[in-house]
Symmetry: C2
Subunit: 214 residues, 2 copies
Amino acid sequence: MEKEISQAVIRRMPRYYRYLGELLDDGVERISSNDLSARMRVTASQIRQDLNNFGGFGQQGYGYNVKYLYDEIGNILGINQRHNMIVVGAGNLGQALANYVNFEKRGFVIIGLFDVNPNLKKSSVRGIKVRMMNELESFVKEQRVDIAALTMPKEHAKRIANILVDLGIHAIWNFAHLDLELPEHVVVENVHLSESLMQLSYNIANQKKLTDKK
Amino acid sequence: MEKEISQAVIRRMPRYYRYLGELLDDGVERISSNDLSARMRVTASQIRQDLNNFGGFGQQGYGYNVKYLYDEIGNILGINQRHNMIVVGAGNLGQALANYVNFEKRGFVIIGLFDVNPNLKKSSVRGIKVRMMNELESFVKEQRVDIAALTMPKEHAKRIANILVDLGIHAIWNFAHLDLELPEHVVVENVHLSESLMQLSYNIANQKKLTDKK
DNA sequence: TAGATTGTTAATCGATTAACAATC
DNA sequence: TAGATTGTTAATCGATTAACAATC
């Protein structure tokens, strides 16, 4: 039986990936958990523990090979493996996602953009034309869609999420401010901007306490 | 000495707030931790523990008054207290934030929108005109700015964050894909979309394991 | 080989859950 | 009053950190 890896660990992996990418760009060939810990401001122990969930990527007395570790983490995260993505809701947020070219570099390719607004009918974003919702079904049936990003108002999100799941999509990147109740096999990742803003707001009001702690 | 409240708790508060808001809209007057736990799919114990970090808002044998608890959590999070916000980077993401009216309902008012792109000089979003970066300094000196949202490419984020902090801003909502190194008194809340997407990607690849667990 | 640094076990810390006495 | 449900203490669980033997 494979051991279950906690989401706390998974959440840290992209950050490791980012730092390793920077080291790679800087031409650094190898790094010890200790040096990396100093840069990232986490404990060396945590780095070694986290990585060892997935295998032994280092070498005693040497450290970690940056390029190798970078690639391995990329594999773990499923980067470089192509993911076809559609964005449902072509408002500013949906367009922002469609415009963000770095996703594509990592294999997350936006292949469709959908909206209810007929004014957007003839428009397109970075060459991706905006389609109307009634084209959704045939589109999803014709192309493989790995991820659907939901960037429409929350009033529609529940209904549309169900439609998408019925069409066979089982990964949802949810920007709508509600909790989707979907079958177990569907993977959901939430981005709740307003909750993030409220957390910031709390920390502003309690900033003194925060800094006192340190 | 005030007890320190963990970020794990703070992160859950906006979600309670959201559910209580919905109950309020539905005309529900009171709710027990048990009923709320069933709706939110967390333990009743956690709800009671979380709330009791801030005080005793309930009543034995009765539960919690929805309206009262909603307001109290709002106070805790600093909602309804006005926060003036500027958005630096008026691309799609910055415009999306500027267009999102719900922030304003919660007291987060976007009072300025800045960009380097001279093409945006005459444009405005929801009545908020886009200003050029050279107006930033005088603007911040004239108005109280509580929060700066950074929605520019990461290449500029570090420099601009430092400028903002020097101008006296001490809360940053960072959408740029880097870790800002700022003085201790500055509160930073990160929204790293690409990391969120990678976490989703990991969970897609490991979906079977996830559902097996349950 | 000696020194460095990993992989991994053990210890600690913190967060979550369970239990129940207090009390409305 | 009896029943319900909180506030809070105690128990458990999981995550982080420390320590060190293994080994390059």
